[in-house]
Symmetry: C3
Subunit: 437 residues, 3 copies
């Protein structure tokens, strides 16, 4: 357990939230998702048991900026049968076995012709790779290298019972309404099949976060988006182009359940409030990674495209593409743990607390320090070696309450935790030493 | 001896100034000071033998922003006598033995009732702690832990012959008038009793600095303030609120006599001229510490409160609160040394030199380098491996004399000592290669 | 060989350019140059075999800002003959043997009177120092310390057959005209005699660079200046004062042939385009040095004087004054190597490529990413572990093509090589995903 950051200022989440997120990820894991199709709908069905999702269906052929909604893909089964009649690969064993968006195919081929259609990882011979072919029509399988390395020559029967037909692209959306119309966008990709960290973890965490906020009266509105990667984000942006100006903060979540240290990639702006808040929270943790924006990754690529340039960063634990389990069958339910999911959950709650609780105080007695002692706000007997953290928080808030510093700016300058400063400011406000700007 | 910085551009201080400062500190050490009372006046009497102090008396009850001048405290004697008639503690042995601002008290108590009124430092059992209780009425003693740890049960006679009556708060002020009304404020707290570094050292150094400036015709006016901590600074600010806009530079001094490396805490502004000048002087010394402002410490807390935000930093050697002798009887006359006091003195003189000697030159021949050789300003035979420091200073001044750089800015950019650049600029001015802006 | 940077985007230089530069430096080495005289003219004669130099003659007595063109110096021979009639030193052996600009002299002196006129390097006793005396009339010799340390007493015959007469100062200039009148100034000092690195290397490299640009249609005009140090640069500045506003980029070259890592000293501005371009190129090489401007060095001192403040930096390998061979007879043809000259050449070509190829693209489809796959610009099968460098370049260019970033700014932010981004931008422009601003 590495909960270095206990719960924030808001109500602490129910104990065992890590277990709950894990249990939900477990239910999502077996479903074969893709960027369209019934797997996405089944996933949204499960998530809907926790939050009231609004479901959107976008028809095949719809123009989304430079993109077009593709045909809908659904798969029932897929097998390769060997010359001896034995099953070589079966989609029923792992939905990674078929290239995602593979064309349907039925035929008997000599091994030499089949080989180019089977993707393996020779350097990780036990693992099935995850491959997709959304926009380049082809058919194919993925397999552990050891499973297919020594196949005997002969003719193989291949059957991929899939459909690629006009249909719809599906995404889910949940809006927690706060006092303001201004929004915090939280987005997770829903298109990957049986990969636990990438992104059953993100989907489950997001759902539990939404559930947890439900009971809370918030200042901001929180929009939760469960959409297929790239095309789903573009669908939402395309349909909500006029509303994007309401987004004050945003986070893309993926790979939030592994044992790696938490990592944050800044928005393209680099100094947005969300960038500063995440830097404050993670900057206080040894091992946490803070990275500048780059245009490769998840849907921050779309949110941060120059025509939108939204203040959306990306939160994850192990950085995608850098861990050996990434995009393989080793990204399974053993790879994510309740404690890491809970840690990620608490980090996000702490950031939400900052977004919710930040304000700009003005010192009503700015000339000299107010006499804290006569208000019971100061250790009564002076001369001790050091002022406690609380006294320091009080002094920092009073000193910086010139109307130019919000609490987050005070936290950045003082290097004290935001929550300590927020508590100090609350106390000083109650004693009428501050007014809110 | 660690005089890495010999005297500045101005007249070098008299040899032995460290000895003089130490001798003055020795005289101040035995006096029992507090934030009010005769100890402050006695201290000002001693200082007045060196500088013409103006003395201010502020009546009890006077409102100073959020604070009120308290009753005046004076103490004649205090003792604890044991069941056997032996003296356990006597104020006459150390003025730290009584909690500063202790209420008068006379009575006979069982040990159990006396105990909570005796403060000790169990982790530094040989040392008497320094404790105050200015604004929370109580009575008490301070003692070495070993002295009182094993007191026998029985009844103890306690007598604190002190007065807490309407009176005045006293502070001293000395103004060295320069050509300009604009001011350099130098301030030291006068309220601590027998603590040598904190702040007999600061009081003595400030007095000697004032004496030393007396003979010097300065550009700035220099205001020296000897005032009780917090309430004294507030008294001055309150009575001079309209004049604070004249303060261009300021330093609070405390703990300037110990063997620690010199340290400077920046003003709240962080980039005031005094911050840059101190950074330049200390930045050239290994071990010296440069710290950002924080609202805990000495009277920079008041000068840098948001309603004033004056360009006042704080100079000390070992950082208060971090050395074991701090606020104990170990902060005695052995803890400070003439050579460290002299080093502190020289640092301040060097900073005063920068304040006095800074100016913005304009190159009269800005196109190409002027021919220094024909003016005798350059080594006559070229081709040597390197230009000497003086030549470099000449070249830097000429190159940066575009009207945008004062000498201090040139020192910052060139990383050459201010005094070398000032000497070079003087030479170039004499040769009519510069004009003053 | 340490060609870490292969050729830039432009046409790669002819193979063997390092050999060609070296061969040219070999031809320049034996000539006795000074700030005036026939040695400069002979040097320009050799350079003119490669580029069409315009030659300028500036008469003695011409005022150049604060300077005056001195009398022209020419030397035919110089010897010291010992009491025994043996030749002690002969200018014919090394043109370093005579102080550059030595007055003519003929006489017989006792050793004690001769000694002050012989300069040696006692700490490098085998080497002849290089000394000049342009503006302080004197005569003198330079010798290896071992050669003259044990001279016997007696009378020595000294003969310096030199002339210091009214004449002219000579410099050479070559302009490669580009589409624009705006200029890139490249300047090398021509005044040093037999010193290979300082600056036969710079003169030869500059000539070959000029020759290499001749065949290239460039955007900028390139001005190549071969002028004596200080006085030559001032001559050019004085005669072209009105044209200096056309200089957008500039480099002074010296000591570009030794085995040291490449080094760049920024212009006085510090953030000029040339500073950024050189930082980008050298910042990607381990060992390369990037230094802030200082007003000591070569003719950047004049170009960066405050009245001009041109965007001119300085490129060299081992930093002048820091290597033991500097300004001695050890700076000979063994000290420079073709491979280092070629490396320097390629670095300059890479910078010229950046100057030539930089532009500011605007993304025509800024909302979301354009679909690269349908244009054949993206790996067809998704899900691989990492996007290749080319894909990253495409994504970075698209993401930053908001009209605020030129390609160099993109390279700085993405930390990708300029040439990769330029290639990506070219591809995207061809696919009509960008327009040029």
């Amino acid at each position: 357990m590495e909960h270095l950051n206990p719960a924030g200022i808001g109500p602490p989440p129910a104990t065992g939230v890590g277990q709950e997120i894990y249990a939900l990820a477990e239910r999502l894991f077996p479903i074969c998702r893709s960027i369209t199709g019934n797997g996405v709908r089944a996933t949204l069905d499960v998530l809907s048991q926790h939050i009231e999702l609004q479901r959107h269906e976008v028809p095949t052929g719809t123009q989304l900026f430079d993109w077009t909604v593709p045909k809908e893909w659904n798969i029932r089964s897929a097998t390769i049968t060997g010359p001896d009649g034995q099953t070589v690969l079966d989609f029923a064993d792992s939905n990674l076995h078929v290239v995602n968006y593979s064309l349907p195919f039925k035929g008997i081929l000599p091994l030499a012709e089949l080989r180019p259609h089977i993707h393996t990882l020779p350097e990780q011979p036990q693992l099935i790779p995850y491959r997709t072919s959304y926009y380049a029509p082809t058919w194919g399988f993925c397999a552990a290298h050891v499973r297919v390395a020594d196949l005997p020559d002969g003719f193989y029967r291949v059957e991929i019972d899939a459909e690629l037909e006009d249909g719809t692209l599906t995404y889910g959306e949940y809006l927690h309404r706060g006092q303001s119309e201004r929004e915090f966008l939280l987005s997770a990709h829903i298109c990957h099949p049986s990969l636990a960290n990438d992104n059953c973890s993100g989907l489950a965490l997001l759902a539990m976060l939404a559930r947890s906020l439900k009971a809370r009266k918030t200042r901001y509105s929180y929009r939760f988006l469960f959409a297929p990667g790239t095309i789903g984000a573009l669908a939402w942006l395309s349909r909500n182009e006029d509303r994007t100006c309401l987004i004050d903060h945003g986070l893309v979540l993926s790979c939030v359940g592994d044992s790696g240290d938490p990592a944050y990639k800044r928005s393209r702006r680099g100094d947005a409030f969300i960038d500063r808040a995440m830097s404050h929270v993670l900057g206080r943790r040894a091992g946490a990674k803070l990275m500048d924006f780059s245009p490769y990754g998840y849907d921050e690529r779309q949110y941060c495209s120059p025509g939108f340039n939204l203040p959306v960063g990306m939160f994850q634990r192990s950085v995608h593409g850098t861990f050996p389990e990434y995009h393989t069958s080793a990204d399974n339910l053993d790879f994510i743990r309740p404690e890491h999911l809970e840690d990620s959950f608490r980090i996000l709650m702490e950031v939400i607390d900052i977004v919710e609780e930040d304000w700009t105080p003005l010192n009503r007695l700015p000339k000299g320090e107010p006499q804290l002692g006569k208000r019971g706000l100061y250790a009564a007997v002076g001369g001790q070696k050091s002022s406690g953290a609380t006294s320091m928080s009080l002094l920092w808030v009073l000193n910086l309450a010139d109307g130019q510093h919000s609490l987050l700016a005070m936290a950045e300058r003082s290097n004290l935790p935001f929550k300590e400063l927020a508590a100090a400011a609350k106390l000083l406000l109650e004693h009428e030493l501050l007014v809110a700007l």
